[in-house]
């Protein structure tokens, strides 16, 4: 039976359980003098029965679907004859794919070796066994749960606290998903990175000056030639982010100051949302804009004044990224500037300072920690930004600080290394995870620090 069918079956069983539990509680209550004699409302008894009926088998279903394929795979592979048992992960996956395709009938059986066909048949039968036992087990579990909960119903049974306990745990599980996500990110990136650092020493990766993963296809070059030196990528990332910040910080900050301190209510109500449109535009659109409009424009502009600007220059990618970040900085700065107490402004104005002097000497210093925090968050966004640089920055890793040249970034390399068709455990794909680890660590530190500053500052005036 298909998993979706089992799911539908379980849900309808749950509905039946709700009805049964509710009507039993009503039946018990009727001779006692109505539902006021029950501990909980009848629907809680129904809910309790339904939860006991549905929840265990839903958990079983989820776990089963997660783990049945890997288990079946390993059983099939381990039952293979010794001579075709795969030695490394790549041939393991290849073989598994072949058997799977044979089992599904995608690959014709003619011409395949007998042991493979036997393995495919084995897989088919295992899959069938798995599905049927899943169906039988989950049905047994839900009927047992239903019966047990149904039996427990009585006028003294405290159904509401029991149901609420279950709901509370479900809510807690949802909240903990954030922790599991972080854990998943750390584990997945760390695990692959450690594998990568086995073939390429971590020192060569972090401090190496030469990045050319393409040459690493040949076995004899892995780790020896130092072709995984990530410094050019770090420099490129910093260069693009610096260009972006150079544009976004002054513009974002000045517009925030103007909107918060000078603009009339009407101007503010129009200009603020209009600026925030920039924040809602997908990054792929910015990438297209940078690659097809800004970059050719800058190249032609440079050519007209005798300056050679690469058509994949860091300037184009960084400039457009800066435009993207303007609303980010302006809204964060706006928040902290408006949080500065009016009394501080009034004091300064009363002393005879002009409004710009008040802003520069009183408001900005008071808001500075928050602004710095906001800028750090923006830097972390610029470092992690992917689509703009993938579309508008280059592929070649050059160690340069000249924004008119083409550079490549960490995120560009992650995308190029992983969108190809290479097997999963080649140093090339693993290098992407090592880069991901670097990216994660740097942005995490920036974020934690920035959030800490912003939070601390907010509490100061609240």
């Amino acid at each position: 039976m298909q998993a979706t069918n089992i799911l539908i079956l379980l849900l309808s069983l749950g509905a039946v359980a709700f009805y049964l539990g509710r009507s039993r509680s009503l039946a018990i209550a009727a001779p006692l003098g109505g539902i006021r004699k029950l501990h909980s409302l009848p629907s809680y008894y129904g809910m309790h029965t339904a939860l006991w009926c549905g929840l265990p088998s839903l958990v079983l279903l989820g776990l089963w679907l997660m783990f049945d394929q890997p288990v079946i795979n390993s059983v099939v592979i381990s039952s293979l004859a010794a001579d075709i048992t795969p030695i490394d992960t790549a041939s393991y996956n290849l073989l598994l794919n072949k058997i799977d395709n044979l089992a599904q009938g995608i690959l014709p059986r003619k011409g395949q070796s007998d042991s493979l066909i036997a393995a495919a048949d084995h897989m088919v039968s295992l899959k069938q066994i798995s599905r049927w036992s899943l169906t039988a087990l989950s049905l047994a579990l839900s009927t047992t749960g239903l019966f047990w909960a149904w039996r427990k119903i009585g006028s003294e049974f405290r159904a509401r606290p029991a149901v609420e306990k279950v709901i509370q745990n479900l809510l807690l599980a949802c909240a903990c998903l954030a922790i599991f996500t972080t854990l998943g990110i750390v584990l997945s990136v760390l695990f692959e990175s450690i594998q990568f650092f086995r073939s390429v020493p971590i020192y060569d990766f972090v401090f190496g000056l030469d990045w050319s993963p393409q040459t690493a296809i040949r076995e004899d070059q892995v780790g020896s030639s130092g072709s995984f030196g990530a410094v050019p990528l770090f420099v490129g990332t910093l260069l693009v982010s610096a260009v972006a910040m150079f544009i976004a910080v002054p513009i974002g900050l000045m517009s925030a100051i103007y909107l918060a301190e000078y603009a009339s209510k009407n101007v503010r109500s129009v200009a603020k949302p209009a600026l925030e449109v920039l924040a809602g535009i997908p990054t792929v659109v910015y990438g297209f804009f940078a690659a097809l409009t800004v970059a050719p424009f800058l190249r032609d502009l440079g050519a007209s004044v005798g300056l050679s600007i690469s058509s994949e220059s860091a300037l184009a990618a960084g400039g457009v990224m800066g435009i993207m970040i303007i609303p980010f900085i302006s809204s964060l700065a706006d928040d902290v500037i408006t949080a500065v107490p009016q009394s501080m402004r009034d004091g300064s104005l009363a002393m005879g300072a002009t409004r710009s002097e008040t802003v520069r000497r009183v408001v900005i210093p008071a808001a500075l920690p928050g602004i710095v925090g906001g800028i750090m968050l923006a830097v972390s966004r610029a470092i992690g930004e992917t689509m703009i640089v993938v579309m508008a920055a280059g592929m070649a890793a050059k160690l340069t600080a000249n924004p008119l040249e083409s550079v490549t970034t960490v995120t560009v390399q992650i995308v190029t290394l992983l969108t190809g068709d290479q097997e999963f455990d080649s140093p090339k794909t693993l290098a992407a995870f090592a880069l991901g680890l670097m990216l994660f660590i740097v942005t995490l530190l920036l974020n934690i620090f920035a959030l800490h500053i912003v939070k601390k500052y907010r509490e100061q005036y609240e």
């Binding site: 998903l177 513009i251 000045m254 909107l259 600026l275 920039l278 792929v284 995120t411 995308v415």
Partner: protein
């Protein structure tokens, strides 16, 4: 006496300087806002001016005779014949009859290149829909090739781009134009077809369907989970280290670069759990994890804005804590939560980078119909088209961007509208 005059003069002098500085400062602010706003304007004007043409396509009017000898079939019901039939011959013969003077192999090839390479199959579909047309002749508008389309549109605009056409082809187009046999027509292919290597046959329906499937899954997963997490953290969580840890995690996840979520999806869902690549299920899972922090944070704000008096009143009437939350707090916070959900979905709709990691970047012609069909999404389609060398794809890309932006604008305006309309102020 003279000293105080001196001081006054000094103050006056510095005052003009300070006032000038004040005026300058204001102008800096105005200029900053002007730059920001003009960036919005330039972006939109650029995209629209590049993409508006894609909503029309060039069609050529020809007399097609559905002669069964030309196609090489004698029975429309016989599927093997239909597959073997030479459908391209239909459009080729129609062109040949229109321009009988053309001879020579290369000239004929150039002539055939006037029409889209899919023209024959369009005619086949037409014949299958109206079998009575067999052995009849009709005058019909046929889709032109993308190079012709690019040339004709640029020529109509007065700035002809003829780099990919020969003199003869330009002559034929002139001839057709004088006879009113070539024209621009609404480009229905753009909205009814999947991806294609031929720009004139490429459409966004496949990508739109992929986006819808992915987003439906994302919404179904992220909204209940996000709201539950927010309820727990706002109403039930004890003040302890564990809760603080959860909060720190949520805040940090909101700022983790989206591409990292792609790496997570690749390592966990695809390589560990063996979920197939390129399917909306993986996309939905990854996007769910990505937008959960957004939904949790906005939902918490919505719950926070419900005044404590409501809670106290419910508790005072004997409601349990859960009844208080489910019956009173949740309904009042729902508009704010929905707004957050829409904003999160808009974020998910525009996201590209993590989906590249999990293989939703494949070239897929078929229109996905279920959560397990290989699919791509609208932003990824834009990325793929932007990478294509054909000039006609620039127009298509901009058109796809316009469609994407329209969706996003609708979502964001409805979020704002919802907030204004339904949110209560206490």
């Amino acid at each position: 006496m003279s000293k105080s005059v001196d001081n006054l003069a000094k103050i006056k002098h510095s005052l003009t300087r300070r006032n000038r500085a004040e005026a300058r400062f204001r102008w800096y602010g105005r200029i900053a806002i002007f730059i920001g706003l003009s960036a919005v304007a330039v972006l939109f004007v650029d995209i629209i001016s590049k993409g508006h043409g894609a909503f029309q396509a060039t069609y050529i009017n020809l007399d097609v005779s559905y002669n069964q000898d030309i196609i090489g079939i004698d029975n429309l019901m016989d599927s093997t014949q239909l597959v073997a039939g030479d459908w391209q011959a239909l459009s080729k013969t129609a062109l040949r009859t229109k321009f009988p003077q053309v001879s020579g192999r290369s000239d004929k090839r150039e002539l055939n290149n006037l029409l889209s390479s899919g023209a024959g199959f369009d005619l086949k579909d037409r014949l299958m829909a109206k079998p009575l047309l067999l052995n009849e002749t009709e005058s019909i508008w046929i889709l032109a090739d993308d190079d012709i389309d690019t040339y004709y549109k640029s020529w109509l605009d007065g700035d002809a781009y003829a780099a990919r056409l020969s003199e003869k082809q330009i002559g034929w187009i002139d001839e057709l134009h004088q006879q009113d046999l070539i024209r621009l027509q609404l480009n229905t292919n753009l909205f009814t077809r999947g991806d294609s290597r031929e720009p004139e046959q490429a459409g966004i329906l496949g990508a739109v369907m992929g986006s819808i499937l992915t987003l439906v899954l994302t919404l179904l997963l992220s909204f209940p989970i996000g709201v539950s997490a927010a309820i727990y953290l706002e109403e039930f969580a004890p003040k302890n280290k564990w809760t603080d840890f959860i909060e720190v995690n949520i805040n940090n996840l909101a700022a983790v670069p989206s591409i990292i979520f792609g790496l997570l999806g690749l390592a966990i869902f695809i390589n560990f759990f063996h979920v197939p690549r390129s399917v909306p299920i993986v996309g939905g899972l990854v996007l769910t994890l990505m937008i959960l922090p957004t939904i949790i944070i906005t939902s918490r704000a919505a719950i926070k804005s419900v005044p404590p008096s409501i809670r106290e009143a419910a508790l005072g009437m004997g409601a349990s804590k859960y009844q208080m939350v489910l019956h009173h707090v949740l309904p009042l916070a729902l508009p704010g939560m929905l707004t957050g959900a829409i904003i999160g979905m808009a974020q998910a709709l525009g996201e590209t980078a993590p989906l590249l990691m999990i293989g939703m970047v494949a070239f897929i012609v078929d229109i996905p119909g279920s959560f397990t069909d290989p699919a791509t999404v609208l932003p990824v389609q834009i990325f793929l088209w932007a990478d294509s060398p054909e000039r006609a794809f620039i127009e298509k890309t901009s058109a796809a961007i316009m469609v994407l932006l329209t969706f996003l604008i609708i979502m964001n305006t409805s979020a704002v509208w919802l907030r204004k309309r339904l949110e209560r102020h206490w």
